[in-house]
């Protein structure tokens, strides 16, 4: 499947909270969407406010996701079409994904005995069944579009070109931190919640990847070096033992294989 994604156009959003309502309904979460202002284990998407504008906040489905890089159990994986999904049957609950996500997206079920990670999974089950994410289906204003990422990028560019005075000339998610499947455009005001536009080009996941690539080599060289030191230290001890023996009186009989034995250490 091609890389899919969503385009959020903040200029089109009227703040009706239908995306949140649809998400909560699908996940079986209780509550009034208008009252929910923070991501939580029972709110995978919210609306943040920048002046009069509403800015959706949910998982950005990074192309090189820090959370997937972090997960030791492969409970978080990125599908070939771009959804970053979670499998609680593999998760060991270390919460390193929460630490690692640069945008603090993953949430935890702090009151559960066997807590799960909660975050938007792009409704991968609906996508794989040929459908579209619940929020995109619910949006009456066309502010959340689902489609192929390339097409959405072209659409975003057109919208910015057609009305340059209404849009910040930047597509959030095209390149920042390696790019996201979830793109966002909107007025200049959204920079207040989305941050400036000088993001890194690569994901933080690349930092760990770069360091860990050297690990196998390091381990092999390290083990070899330790063995070398062991061998040299044995020689040194033997030589020192010889010297000590040479200094002692010749009348004493030489102990058989004495030097070797004296190096033998036991645990």
């Amino acid at each position: 499947m091609k890389t899919m994604g969503m385009l959020i156009d903040v200029n089109m959003c009227g703040g009706c909270h239908e995306c949140m309502a649809a998400c909560m309904k699908k996940q079986g979460f209780e509550g009034d969407p208008e009252q929910v202002t923070k991501l939580s284990a029972t709110a995978r998407t919210i609306l943040e406010h920048a002046g009069d504008y509403n800015v959706r906040k949910f998982c950005r489905h990074c192309i090189d996701p820090a959370c997937v890089g972090a997960c030791p159990a492969k409970a978080l994986v990125r599908t070939d079409y771009g959804a970053v999904k979670y499998d609680s049957d593999r998760c060991m609950g270390c919460r390193y994904c929460m630490i690692s996500c640069p945008y603090d997206i993953p949430r935890y079920e702090w009151d559960e005995v066997a807590p799960k990670i909660q975050k938007c999974d792009m409704c991968w089950d609906r996508i794989e069944a040929g459908g579209i994410p619940a929020c995109a289906e619910a949006c009456p204003a066309g502010a959340t579009l689902f489609g192929e990422r390339e097409e959405l990028l072209a659409e975003a560019r057109t919208r910015i070109q057609d009305a340059p005075e209404e849009y910040l000339d930047y597509i959030y998610g095209e390149h920042d931190n390696g790019g996201y499947a979830i793109l966002m455009i909107g007025p200049k005001e959204i920079a207040a919640v989305r941050g400036g536009i000088d993001f890194a080009d690569s994901s933080p996941a690349a930092i760990a990847r770069g360091v860990l690539k050297q690990l196998p080599g390091f381990a092999v060289v390290g083990a070899a070096a330790l063995f070398g030191i062991y061998w040299f230290a044995g020689r040194r001890n033997r030589v020192m033992a010889e010297k000590a023996r040479a200094r002692t009186d010749d009348r004493l009989p030489k102990p058989p294989k004495g030097g070797k034995e004296s190096n033998h250490v036991t645990a």
């Binding site: 991501l39 939580s40 820090a66 997937v68 890089g69 972090a70 997960c71 030791p72 159990a73 492969k74 409970a75 609680s88 049957d89 593999r90 998760c91 060991m92 609950g93 270390c94 919460r95 390193y96 929460m98 630490i99 690692s100 640069p102 603090d104 949430r107 935890y108 079920e109 702090w110 009151d111 559960e112 005995v113 066997a114 807590p115 799960k116 933080p204 996941a205 930092i207 760990a208 990847r209 360091v211 860990l212 690539k213 690990l215 390091f218 381990a219 390290g222 083990a223 330790l226 063995f227 030191i229 062991y230 230290a233 044995g234 040194r236 001890n237 190096n263 250490v265 036991t266 645990a267």
Partner: protein, 382 residues
């Protein structure tokens, strides 16, 4: 050695009270969830149990791999009497970490997954691997003690033959483990305060683990001297002190040149919450012990050496708590203070550590026969 301060009755009672309270924490965690016993939150998913029990616990166990390297790889046999106590400490430390994970992990029954599904991008995968494999290596390194107790001669011989490969494997795993604990934080430059984020965190964690490993051997020798009447000779202790001083020097060099290179030194100069905790860590835990060590070594004062070593341990703990908690507070916009049950569980792990060591020392040959009751400062390296 005076045993005036050692009152078994008092400590035993305290231990059982803390143990009972700790078991209640376990029970609450496994009936009502982590939220019922901790101040952890989505903003602070890691707290005292990760910052102290795991990051510090593993570092404090570093004496084990150090001393095996010194005795079996560098073959400096006069350090042999400390091999067993140091390995025993390390093993107990790792077992306690696994126990702490049973409390902290949300779904610990999946702990084995990293062993079989490799994620080469994940520092946590490396950490999980090291914990598991090194625990087994430590058990194998110590098994000789058990075979000795049981009188299994053949097993003892086999175990002895495997010593060098085991030691090399253990040293490599430990170096990787110690540094990867710091490596966990490499991927979040944007979330950490500039006084603590560093590309050199893995190296800083490794070097500080080595210095604290050395300090712990001095501290353990002192404690076991009080409790069991075993302690190391003055010459050995002095050598440990010199090595500790060298490691503190290397650490300070890396720490400060990194701060300077990143232009973070001004942040240490303005008065505030972070800079205050930074200077507490560096002043009390790095500069002061280094100065005391110099004086102690110059005057061959073993009491001072012991005090300096305690400060090294303290500084190490402060650094790891700062990295795992303080450094994150400003980007979270809130403070994290551990809940009382979190502190109780941590105390329980510390208590269990002491108790396990006592039991091991009573029933196994942890301390050597020869050199028993050797006095501190007699100049003999047992």
């Amino acid at each position: 050695m005076s045993r005036r301060n050692w009152n078994p009755g008092f400590w035993k009672t305290l231990f059982f009270i803390v143990l009972a309270a700790g078991l209640v924490v376990f029970w609450m965690r496994w009936t009502r969830g982590l939220g019922s016993v901790t101040h952890l939150s989505d903003a602070f998913p890691w707290g005292l149990w990760v910052g102290f029990d795991i990051l510090c616990g593993i570092g404090l166990a570093a004496g084990g791999f150090l001393i095996t390297a010194v005795v079996y790889i560098f073959r400096l046999e006069r350090f042999k009497p400390i091999v067993r106590p140091a390995l025993m400490t390390a093993f107990i430390g790792y077992m306690l970490e696994v126990l702490a994970l049973m409390l902290d992990l949300g779904r610990p029954w999946n702990l084995w997954r990293p062993l079989f599904s490799w994620n080469p991008d994940s520092v946590m995968f490396v950490v999980a691997w090291c914990v598991t494999v090194y625990s087994v290596v430590l058990a194998a390194e110590l098994s000789g003690m058990i075979f000795e107790k049981l009188g299994w001669k053949r097993a003892q011989v086999i175990q002895r033959r495997a010593t060098i490969p085991l030691v090399i494997l253990g040293v490599v795993l430990s170096i990787v483990h110690q540094s990867s604990l710091g490596g966990l934080y490499l991927t979040i430059p944007g979330k950490m305060h500039e006084l603590w984020y560093s590309n050199f965190l893995p190296l800083l964690f490794l070097v500080s683990a080595v210095s604290v490993g050395l300090a712990m051997i001095v501290v353990e020798s002192r404690i076991s001297g009080r409790v069991f009447g075993h302690h190391l000779g003055g010459r050995t202790l002095t050598e440990l002190g010199v090595a500790q001083l060298v490691m503190l020097g290397i650490y300070a060099l890396v720490r400060f040149s990194d701060l300077a290179a990143r232009g973070a030194l001004p942040a240490a100069m303005d008065l505030g919450y972070e800079s205050g905790l930074f200077w507490l860590e560096v002043g009390v835990g790095l500069i002061l012990p280094a100065l005391l060590l110099m004086v102690a070594l110059k005057r061959s004062n073993l009491r001072l050496l012991y005090g300096a070593s305690l400060l090294t341990v303290l500084g190490f703990i402060l650094h790891r708590l700062n990295v795992s908690m303080t450094a994150l507070e400003s980007s979270r916009g809130e403070h994290y203070v551990p809940a009382i049950p979190e502190a109780i569980a941590t105390l329980m792990f510390v208590g269990l550590g002491f108790a396990a060591f006592r039991l091991a020392a009573r029933y196994l040959q942890v301390f050597p026969h020869e050199g028993d009751h050797a006095r501190l400062g007699d100049g003999r390296a047992s």
